[in-house]
Symmetry: C2
Subunit: 223 residues, 2 copies
């Protein structure tokens, strides 16, 4: 009566060389054995309390990563997306700084630039594109991109992250005003060093905003 194949997949995104990259793993079983695909797998009804737990478990088991930001993207369903039959994939997406992936140093992890993808197994290309669209859109009016930088960062660094994600420049003054208005960032007393110019002042996300998102009433415009 209910022969639906029900899985969970995770789109783990990061910023590398100012470009969005996605974590892919080489599949170790059929179908599509040997091909690069999203981390994912079956729900373990005995150990996962819900699908979010399953996503966290897969992220940790398959990439050695724990992400403070993990959100459900959408569920992709259909009779034809999986050669084994009618399937539903509950997809989550997560954002982490590149160093988190580097430090995990998981041997199976491949970082691939999101706009150089083609020929993915299943509908994973469509899934990744959907996730990237969501992230880009959400970045225009929220603090989402702060999950792509480490604990300490300067405002110009953060602005470059926003610009890399959204793919367009942002007005510097507006950016600082918006970040200030969000009220989630505080200055530290540390400064950049080593560069032949005025050093930036390091900031961090306020304690009470860790793991949360702030949204602004209006999106960024061009800069």
């Amino acid at each position: 009566m209910n022969s639906i194949i029900c899985t969970v997949d995770v789109v783990l995104l990061t910023l590398k060389n100012s470009a969005l990259h996605v974590v892919l793993l080489k599949r170790d079983r059929e179908p599509f054995a040997g091909e690069l695909a999203l981390p994912g797998g079956f729900i373990h009804a005995d150990e996962d309390q819900d699908a979010g737990d399953a996503a966290r478990r897969m992220l940790l088991a398959k990439a050695g990563i724990t992400s403070p930001y993990l959100e459900q993207l959408e569920t992709f369903t259909g009779a034809k997306r999986d050669p084994r039959g009618w399937s539903a994939s509950i997809v989550y997406y997560a954002l982490v700084p590149e160093e988190v992936i580097v430090q995990a140093a998981h041997p199976d992890v491949h970082l691939v630039q999101v706009d150089s993808l083609s020929n993915m197994p299943f509908d994973h290309l469509h899934i990744i594109n959907t996730a990237v669209s969501r992230v880009r859109n959400k970045s225009t009016y929220s603090s989402l991109p702060v999950y792509l930088v480490g604990e300490k960062f300067t405002l110009p660094q953060l602005q470059k992250v926003y610009e890399a994600v959204m793919g367009e420049p942002i007005n510097k003054v507006s950016f600082r005003r918006k970040m200030d208005a969000l009220g989630m960032i505080e200055l530290t007393d540390e400064y950049e060093t080593g560069k032949p110019n005025r050093p930036g002042q390091f900031c961090r996300v306020k304690e009470e905003f860790r793991g949360a998102l702030s949204t602004m009433g209006r999106a960024f415009n061009a800069g």
Copy 2:
């Protein structure tokens, strides 16, 4: 290996007496037989091409309704939300004018005001609240509420719909400017009649925007 119960539920919303209502049906089988719950059921792998098809099929079979706007809300999962075991419900939401429900005249349909709900089966209360939040939020920056009115409507009528959905007044001039800027509404040459005041001019959604959403760069403020 995969004993997940996988279902589809639909939150069908409408506006009645200027308040959001949801369509509920009396369950005809266990669990929770006899209680009011969201229309839903199992995916039919043989007739549904994807979960959206399943949602449309259920809406038609159980409420006699075809909704031009139907969107995936979220998938609700967990070991405890269904007494039968670990389950995943792919939830869609839809918006239709009240007359569509009235004309369908389906005997099982119950229209219940969304903020008078309590004691729903499963996590249906949580699902409905999530859907209502989504609709309210989306209404602040998009044309979503036009799906709650019929084909012909005046701008003051539409404004009242927006205000009913969002629960707060909107500035009249701003509202008209925004609607004009969306460019999806056109005036007809018909006018209201029968009221002891200047009649409103009827509008309709332009042909090319039927079934689509328009979004504005910035949300409504208070009015």
